[in-house]
Symmetry: C2
DNA sequence: CGTTACGTTGAAAGGGTTCAATCCCTGTGG
DNA sequence: CCACAGGGATTGAACCCTTTCAACGTAACG
């Protein structure tokens, strides 16, 4: 709670997520300019929508604290989960082409975001070419992430999917300087199942197995990785998410 | 052959793909400026690589004629196919973030492309804000396409996947002003299988069924859609690809 | 303290894969 | 011009992983 309050007030200049978020590579002065167009509002509550599919596009949003899921529905009414977003991640890029949000974004926990009005961001990007590249970079990473998720869906079995999911979350926490062998994860097993193209039952069974084998425990909202090596091996290929690909040095 | 030759020489101003490709919404003068940085080379031959994963990033490429596949390999050496690209489509956006191509692009047929050196494109984008937005739009569409592909992989069975694939190809041809109920498709069934997360055997069996039911015939490289309505119904949700989403008016 | 939604566990069923054999088309070389 | 090689496509049968269905347990919240 105290943490959220701090986040609400902080500026880019003293934000701990500089290395991961938007401002990467900007000078102090540039960051200051960016800071001036950023809007900060009270945190979102659990299950609150940041934007919904169909909403007119106005801003991109950088997450300061909490977790969000980006999702939509099939024509049949089934939920589709496209991704989970952590502090430093940016949501809303899906709407750039059509000026309308294609997906919805929901807070899975108390979550605070920085709002970046896109018109102002565009104007500023003309003055600061590096900022423009930064936005390209965010979009490009999103494309690559999508491809990697498709790889998971086409080439991996249920065990590997879950191992990869958990390991990728751990890596993302690691990259943000958080504890990564033991962390709080406010994501429902049900949502993970949807994200991974599985059923809740399958996820439950595999988590039970991982627990028995003393590799990972995920009870309530606490994840504990007991055997990092085994988990990574199970995941098969080292997962590269937006902020954690060892193969590529993100600009 | 004659068609390819023409493509090689044409400029954006007299290109039939204006509505679909990069220049959408640019004024004559702006289009002319864009035209000056576009490089045109001899067409690629079948199975020739435009770029390979690991190559340093220099340009985006707009396809003028032919077909390309964008692909990579799993750590285990299996091929992953991320998408097929038709005239008017742009490939290479995966490399914007890391300055290195994450995937490879191969011509599946004689294919000609327009090369857009990214540094020059960036410079020009500062002068022409609309061009900058155009690039954002292309990236954003790529993100949305990826999500829709994931939806296909998580929510659809084999029959629906193939129906959707065929229908989406038809729509893309339609949007380009080509015949869409009967067209040439230089894509191996094997590659479609990989793209859809299926085996060649499954694809073969389902295509046989679609042929028997007089819905679609795909022999050699010729696709014939005999029952448009049935195909669309089979596909379930109307597929929205980069250039054909009825729900959204792409800027 | 009841209600509701999430999570767990078991048994049965099914869709797609796997494996293997055969066919077919294309391109190549004698 | 024909024979042969090689990769892709087809077809059949057995298998297996995941889903489905159903029942029960459990945590959170009003």
């Amino acid at each position: 709670m105290a943490e959220v309050k701090t986040a609400f007030n902080a500026s880019c200049l003293n934000c701990g997520l500089q290395k991961i978020c938007f401002p990467t590579g900007l000078s102090r002065a540039e960051m200051d300019s960016l800071d001036h167009i950023v809007q900060r509002k009270p945190p979102l509550q659990k299950n609150q929508l940041l934007f919904a599919a169909g909403d007119p596009f106005k801003s991109l949003y950088a997450i300061r604290a909490g977790v969000m899921k980006v999702f939509s529905f099939t024509d049949g009414g089934e939920e589709i989960i496209h991704g989970f977003y952590l502090p430093g991640d940016v949501v809303g890029v899906d709407a750039l082409a059509g000026k309308v949000h294609m997906f919805s974004a929901m807070a899975l926990d108390a979550t605070s975001v920085c709002t970046l009005p896109f018109d102002e961001l565009s104007d500023l990007s003309r003055e600061i070419p590096h900022l423009n590249k930064q936005v390209f970079s965010i979009l490009s990473k999103e494309v690559v992430d999508g491809r990697l998720h498709s790889e998971l869906l086409t080439k991996k079995n249920a065990d590997q999917r879950i191992a990869q999911f958990l390991w990728s979350m751990a890596e993302r926490f690691k990259n943000r300087g958080y504890h990564y062998l033991e962390f709080r994860l406010s994501i429902l097993h049900r949502d993970v199942a949807i994200y991974l193209g599985l059923t809740p039952e399958t996820v439950s069974r595999i988590l039970a197995k991982l627990h028995q084998d003393d590799i990972v425990t995920w009870k309530k909202k606490e994840v504990q990785i007991h055997n990092e090596e085994a988990l990574r091996t199970l995941a098969g290929t080292h997962y590269c998410d937006s902020n954690s690909c060892s193969k590529v040095v993100w600009l």
